[in-house]
C-alpha cells in the first residue's frame, strides 16, 4: 500500500512537472512574426494575416497555449512544421530510430568503458594509472562533443582514412564508429569519475577489510563486494545522463550528417522552424522526466528506506 502511494505520488508530481515543461516549450519561438518570416519581407499584409490565422497566431497567447497543451494531451499532436507543413510527430518518428540507435549504442560503450576506467583507477589510488585515467576523463569532460567529433574527423577520417566522415549506418557499420565513440566520451568520463569516487568510499569500509581478511582474492572482493555496493551513484548518473545524451546527438548528428532527431532539430534551428524545435525539445524533456520517475520507482524497490521517508 505504501509502495503504491509512493508510486502514485511520484507520477502525480511528474505530471505537474510535465505541465510546466509544456508551458516552457510553448514559448520557444523566435522574436518577431513567424508568418512574416515564413512569407518573406515582401509579402503583402493580407497574405501575412491569412498565414497568421492559419498558424493560429491571431488568437490571444493564453488561448494558443491552451490549444497547444490540449492538442498534445488529447491527440499527441505537436503541430506542423512551418517550412514543410508536415506534422512534427511524423518528422520525429521518422528520425527517432537513427537517434535511438546512436544514443543507446553510445550509452552501452560509455557504461562499460566508464566503469572499467573507474575500477582501474581504484586498484592503486594516486598511482600513475589512477592519475592517467582521471586525467583522461577530465579531458573527456573538458572537450565539448562537437570538438571531439571534429578532431576525430580530422585524424581518423581525413588523415588516416580509417572511417568515413559522414553518413548513415545503412551504408555499413563503419559509418557508426566515429559518431558512436564521439558521443560516448563525455558520459564515459563522468561515469569513470563517479565510479572511482564511489569505489574509494566503499573500499574504505569495514566489510571490505573483513572480506580481504577472510582470504578472498582481490578480484572477488572488488567485483562481488565492493562494486555491487558502489554502483548506486553510478546508476543515478547513468539515468540522469540519458536525456543529456539525446541532447548531445544534436551536435554529433550535425557534425557527422547522421539523419536523426538532432539533425532535424539543427535544420529547424537554422530555418527558425519553431514547431519542430518545440517538438524535439519537448520529447527530450519528457524522456528525462519519465526516466527519472522509473528510476525513482526502481530505487524504492531496491532500497525500501526511500519510500518510507
Amino acid at each position: 500500500m505504501k509502495f503504491l502511494l509512493y508510486v502514485l505520488g511520484r507520477i502525480h508530481y511528474a505530471l505537474w512537472v510535465l505541465a510546466g515543461v509544456v508551458v516552457v516549450t510553448f514559448f520557444i519561438r523566435p522574436p518577431g512574426d513567424p508568418a512574416r518570416v515564413l512569407l518573406g519581407q515582401h509579402a503583402d499584409s493580407v497574405s501575412v494575416a491569412a498565414m497568421r490565422e492559419q498558424l493560429g497566431l491571431d488568437r490571444p497567447l493564453y488561448e494558443q497555449l491552451f490549444l497547444y497543451g490540449k492538442n498534445i494531451v488529447t491527440d499527441g499532436d505537436l503541430g506542423r512544421s512551418i517550412v514543410t507543413r508536415r506534422p512534427v510527430t511524423e518528422i520525429i518518428s521518422e528520425r527517432l530510430p537513427a537517434t535511438v540507435l546512436l544514443a543507446s549504442a553510445s550509452m552501452a560503450i560509455a557504461i562499460l568503458g566508464g566503469i572499467a576506467l573507474g575500477l582501474v583507477a581504484t586498484i592503486r589510488p594516486n598511482s600513475w594509472i589512477d592519475t592517467a585515467s582521471m586525467s583522461t576523463s577530465l579531458l573527456g569532460i573538458s572537450l565539448p562533443s562537437f570538438v571531439v567529433g571534429l578532431l576525430f574527423i580530422l585524424v581518423f577520417g581525413v588523415t588516416l582514412e580509417w572511417f568515413p566522415n559522414s553518413g548513415y549506418i545503412d551504408r555499413g557499420w563503419q559509418y557508426l564508429t566515429l559518431p558512436l565513440i564521439t558521443l560516448a566520451i563525455r558520459p564515459m568520463s563522468i561515469i569513470a569519475r563517479v565510479t572511482r569516487s564511489s569505489m574509494l568510499d566503499v573500499l574504505g569500509q569495514d566489510y571490505v577489510r573483513t572480506a580481504r581478511a577472510k582470504g578472498l582474492s582481490m578480484p572477488t572482493v572488488y567485483v562481488r563486494h565492493a562494486l555491487r555496493n558502489a554502483l548506486n551513484p553510478v546508476v543515478t548518473t547513468i539515468s540522469a545522463w540519458f536525456a543529456g545524451l539525446l541532447a548531445g546527438t544534436y551536435f554529433i548528428e550535425f557534425v557527422f550528417n547522421w539523419p536523426g532527431i538532432g539533425y532535424a532539430s539543427f535544420t529547424a534551428i537554422t530555418q527558425l522552424d519553431y514547431p519542430v524545435i518545440q517538438g524535439t525539445v519537448l520529447l527530450t524533456a519528457v524522456i528525462f522526466v519519465v526516466t527519472n520517475v522509473v528510476a525513482d520507482i526502481i530505487y524504492s524497490i531496491l532500497d525500501p528506506r526511500i519510500r518510507l521517508r
Binding site: 565539448p144 581525413v158 537554422t270
Partner: protein
C-alpha cells in the same frame, strides 16, 4: 573599566576559510597549473591589442586559408575614410621607380601607383612582411589575433552568464531553503521543470526566443544554468538553518534578509564557489556550441565557436586543418584549466579532506 580577558589561543591562531583554501590550493599541482593558465588567459585577453599587430576583423582576401607560420608581403595604402587605418594590399613583389611603385599582386596582375598614395613616409611605414603565426582563416584574417580576441568573448561569457546564473540560483535557493513550506515547493517545482531540459537544449531554446547576438547569448546561458546553484544553496541552507547561531539571530530579532545575507550565505559560500567554476567552464562550452550551430555571438565578432564553424567547412576537404584545430585546442585548454582549478578548489574547501 576592567581589562577584557585575553582571547583563547586557538582563535588567535585561527585561519580564515580563504587563507586555508589558498594554502591547500597551492599544494595541489593540478589546481596551481589550472590557475596559472587562467591568469595567463585573462592577461592575454585584456592586453590583446598590445600582443598582436592585427585587427580581428581586417580581411586580406588575397591571403585566405594560409597555413600556420605564413609570412605575408603587403603594401599599406592610405585610406581616405579612416586616416589611421591603412588599406592592406597583398603583393608578390614590388619595385620603386622614381615616384611610382610597380607591383604585381599574388594573382600576377601588374599595377603602378604613386608613392604618395602609400601610408606613412618611408618604406618601413608602407611595406610590411607580417607573420601569421597560426595562419589565416577563410577571409584572410589572422587566426592568432582572432583567438586572442575570441578569448575576450569566452571569458566574458563565462563571467557574465555565470553571474546571472548565480543571482537567480542564490535568490531562489535561499528562499526555498530558508522559508521552506510552499515557497520551497514552488521553487522546487520550477527547478524540476527547468532541470527536465538538458542545459544545452534550454540554452538553444532561449537563444531562439531571444534572437541572435552578444547579450542575448549571455542571457540565454545565464537563465539556463542556475538550477544546480539553486539546489546546492537550498541544501546548504537546510543544514545551516538548524545551527544555533541562526537561532541566535532570530533571538536577537534580526530580519530575514539580514539573516540570509549576513549569516547564512557566507557559510554556504564554499560549495557555491566550487559549482561556479564548473559553471564558468560550461558557459564557455555553451557559447562555443551556440556559435558553432550559427546561434550565439554573430560575425564579425571573433568567437571560438564561430572560428571552429568556419574551419569545419574546410576540414573535410583536407585544407588547413589549423583553422579548426587551433580554436578547438585553445577552448579545450581553457576548459581543462578551469576544471583542474575547480577540482582543486573542491578538495581544498572540503572539510573532510584530511591533508592539511
Amino acid at each position: 573599566m576592567t581589562k577584557a580577558p585575553s582571547q583563547p589561543t586557538s582563535l588567535q591562531h585561527g585561519e580564515s576559510l580563504g587563507a586555508l583554501t589558498w594554502r591547500r590550493l597551492r599544494k595541489n599541482r593540478g589546481a596551481t597549473i589550472g590557475l596559472a593558465v587562467l591568469v595567463l588567459m585573462i592577461l592575454l585577453a585584456l592586453s590583446a591589442p598590445l600582443i598582436t599587430p592585427f585587427d580581428p576583423a581586417t580581411q586580406i582576401l588575397e591571403y585566405t586559408v594560409k597555413p600556420a607560420g605564413f609570412r605575408g608581403n603587403v603594401l599599406l595604402k592610405k585610406n581616405p575614410s579612416i586616416p589611421d587605418r591603412p588599406t592592406i594590399v597583398a603583393v608578390s613583389n614590388f619595385r620603386q621607380i622614381g615616384d611610382s611603385i610597380h607591383y604585381t599582386d599574388p594573382a600576377g596582375e601588374a599595377y603602378v601607383i604613386p608613392v604618395s598614395s602609400l601610408f606613412g613616409t618611408s618604406a618601413n611605414d608602407w611595406h610590411k612582411e607580417p607573420l601569421f603565426v597560426l595562419g589565416t582563416d577563410a577571409f584572410g584574417r589572422d587566426m592568432f589575433t582572432r583567438l586572442i580576441y575570441g578569448m575576450r568573448v569566452s571569458l566574458s561569457v563565462g563571467l557574465i552568464a555565470e553571474s546571472i546564473a548565480l543571482v537567480i540560483g542564490i535568490i531562489l535557493g535561499s528562499l526555498a531553503g530558508y522559508f521552506r513550506g510552499w515557497v520551497d515547493d514552488g521553487v522546487m517545482w520550477l527547478v524540476n521543470v527547468v532541470a527536465a531540459f538538458p542545459t544545452i537544449l534550454l540554452i538553444i531554446a532561449f537563444s531562439v526566443i531571444l534572437g541572435k547576438g552578444y547579450w542575448q547569448t549571455f542571457v540565454a546561458i545565464g537563465v539556463s544554468s542556475w538550477v544546480d546553484i539553486a539546489r546546492i544553496v537550498r541544501g546548504q541552507f537546510f543544514s545551516i538553518r538548524e545551527q544555533e547561531y541562526i537561532e541566535a539571530t532570530r533571538a536577537l530579532g534580526y530580519g530575514n534578509v539580514r539573516t540570509i545575507l549576513r549569516h547564512m550565505l557566507p557559510n554556504a559560500m564554499g560549495p557555491i564557489v566550487v559549482i561556479s567554476t564548473a559553471g564558468f567552464a560550461t558557459a564557455i562550452i555553451a557559447e562555443a556550441s551556440l556559435s558553432f550551430i550559427g546561434l550565439g555571438v554573430q560575425p564579425p565578432t571573433a568567437s571560438w565557436g564561430q572560428m571552429i564553424k568556419d574551419g569545419y567547412g574546410y576540414l573535410a576537404v583536407g585544407t588547413n586543418w589549423g583553422m579548426t584545430v587551433f580554436p578547438c585546442l585553445v577552448m579545450a585548454i581553457a576548459v581543462f584549466a578551469l576544471n583542474l582549478f575547480g577540482d582543486g578548489l573542491r578538495d581544498a574547501l572540503d572539510p573532510r579532506t584530511t591533508q592539511r
